[in-house]
């Protein structure tokens, strides 16, 4: 089978919209255009029914009650609302928050924003495996700790944290537990009750739904979590998030959640894992000096993050234009700083510059993976021919013994 180029292997950045999801959304952009808050006519009732069905679908994916789901504009807003909203509401209890250096910017910057309100933040360090240890969290808890925010799976290296164990620690110490689950949805089975999660950030566009829609799970049972809203207005979503509900987007999120739950049960993740493993094994067979970043064992089935030593990441991406992926190299970023996640893991800066992230998805095929292996192999070999570092290493020189003029 011929492959169509370019090949999309950047499913951590976003996923394509599942055509089945689009089909479910379309009627709510045309004939069912009602405002879900209109209580007095069928246009409103139809819209409201669709919203409530989606709320059930999202709740089912994470083992929650539909009443615990608040629709937002995406996981960035959910992280802001969960962390800032809960911290502000509970600030009389204490002003200390725990998070990790590997979190998404939506979490890190929400925490930084709270610093200006007198909150103190502990940013946990990471081992090279990229996994947050429950004991680390427990050791950081103080009498004034109100909230702990740890992601379920990392968006760069795909590592999966022991959320249930960390949740048990937080519950024992009466600390609110916020979890960014964006990358794990449909890839890891989630049960917010069993895992003792109090707040969970959800996004549609990483699970084959549309962009610009997400949700925040807010525990209502024991303990009941209270938040200060960030967006004020008509009192939608139990007053926690005002704004006319984007019904078609919410329908898309609900449908995406339904198929994500299916993916956990129908073997989709085994198929994706096999494709990811095929990619990694194929590359390893052809090339030497490859390094995995973060734990291989505790990793999303769709993630491959590895370093191609002596080949700079942006140059490699230019060479493999037919494959959409991303790199942690400084040369790809406006700041010219290599990935903060890889830095926090303690990955050598040299290796961070040569790192690549591949994210396999629902619509990738074996033919595409085989094409990718061939193209990446060819370009890495070519760029290594061009690399003065590879030449030095071939000559037996230890690069660490050279006096480089840092600039």
């Amino acid at each position: 089978m011929a492959v169509t180029l370019p090949i999309y292997l950047d499913n951590h950045a976003t996923t394509p919209l599942d055509p089945r999801v689009l089909d479910e959304m379309l009627p709510y952009l045309t004939q069912h255009f009602g405002n879900a808050a209109s209580r007095n006519h069928s246009f409103g009732w139809t819209a409201n029914e669709a919203v409530e069905r989606a709320r059930e679908q999202v709740a089912a994916l994470i083992g929650a009650d539909p009443k615990e789901i608040i629709f937002t504009s995406g996981a960035t807003e959910s992280d802001n609302l969960g962390i800032i909203g809960a911290a502000r509401f509970n600030s009389k209890k204490g002003k200390h928050i725990i998070t990790s250096k590997l979190e998404h910017k939506a979490v890190l910057d929400s925490c930084h924003a709270l610093e200006s309100e007198g909150f103190e933040i502990t940013f946990l360090d990471s081992d090279p495996d990229g996994i947050v240890k429950p004991a680390q969290v427990e050791a950081a808890i103080r009498p004034d700790t109100v909230l702990c925010a740890i992601m379920m799976a990392n968006n760069e290296i795909g590592t999966i944290n022991p959320i249930a164990e960390i949740g048990a620690v937080c519950r024992r110490h009466n600390v609110i537990f916020h979890v960014d689950a964006v990358q794990a949805l449909g890839r890891v089975a989630i049960d917010v009750t069993a895992m003792n999660v109090d707040l969970m950030a959800i996004s549609a566009h990483k699970m084959y739904g549309p962009k610009g829609i997400g949700a925040l799970y807010v525990r209502r049972g024991r303990p009941r979590i209270r938040l200060e809203p960030l967006i004020h207005g008509g009192g939608h979503e139990r007053g926690l998030r005002s704004g006319t509900l984007p019904v078609h987007q919410i329908v898309g999120l609900g449908a995406a959640a339904k198929y994500a739950l299916e993916a956990l049960q129908n073997g989709e993740n085994d198929r994706i894992r096999a494709l990811r493993d095929r990619l990694w094994e194929g590359l390893q067979k052809n090339l030497d000096h490859l390094y995995i970043n973060g734990s291989w064992e505790h990793r999303l089935p769709n993630n491959l993050n590895c370093s191609f030593a002596y080949v700079e990441g942006e140059a490699l991406m230019m060479g493999i234009k037919a494959i959409a992926c991303s790199s942690g190299s400084a040369c790809t970023s406006a700041s010219l700083e290599p990935s903060y996640v890889l830095r926090a893991l303690g990955v050598d800066v040299e290796l961070a510059h040569t790192s690549m992230r591949f994210g396999v998805g629902r619509f990738n095929t074996e033919e595409e993976i085989d094409f990718a292996i061939e193209l990446i192999t060819e370009k890495v070999r070519w760029l290594r021919q061009m690399s003065p570092l590879y030449e030095l290493v071939q000559e037996g020189v230890d690069l660490k013994t050279i006096q480089w003029a840092a600039h």
Binding site: V311, A315, C331, P338, P388, E391, L399, A406, H407
Partner: protein, 134 residues
Amino acid sequence: MAYSDKLIEHYENPRNMGSLDKNADDVGTGLVGAPACGDVMKLQLKINDDGIIEDAKFKTFGCGSAIASSSLVTEMVKGKSIDFAEGIKNTMIAEELALPPVKIHCSVLAEDAIKAAIADYRKKQAERAATPSE
């Protein structure tokens, strides 16, 4: 990032990629940059007794702009005098390749590499002159 056609062309078909004998008296080698910064450039110039650059070769670890800058610079100096090569400014490279602002430093590296290669050549020549012939 959106790059110029010229830059992409140099990246895809780099000129003068390779190495010269770094121990030869008439070859000057410049190795600049640092792996930790994500860019290392090796530039070698073979210079005859009349001070003309007969050959130039490069190897670069760095982004596409760094590769294109080094390729272009080897093209600029080949067949030219040392004096001409010393006068090359990074702005000439940046303009020619239409480098975006964040990539200007990649052209600075190419200018540094030329200067380092010429300095190495001069050092070798001075050492040779100082060695009494048998």
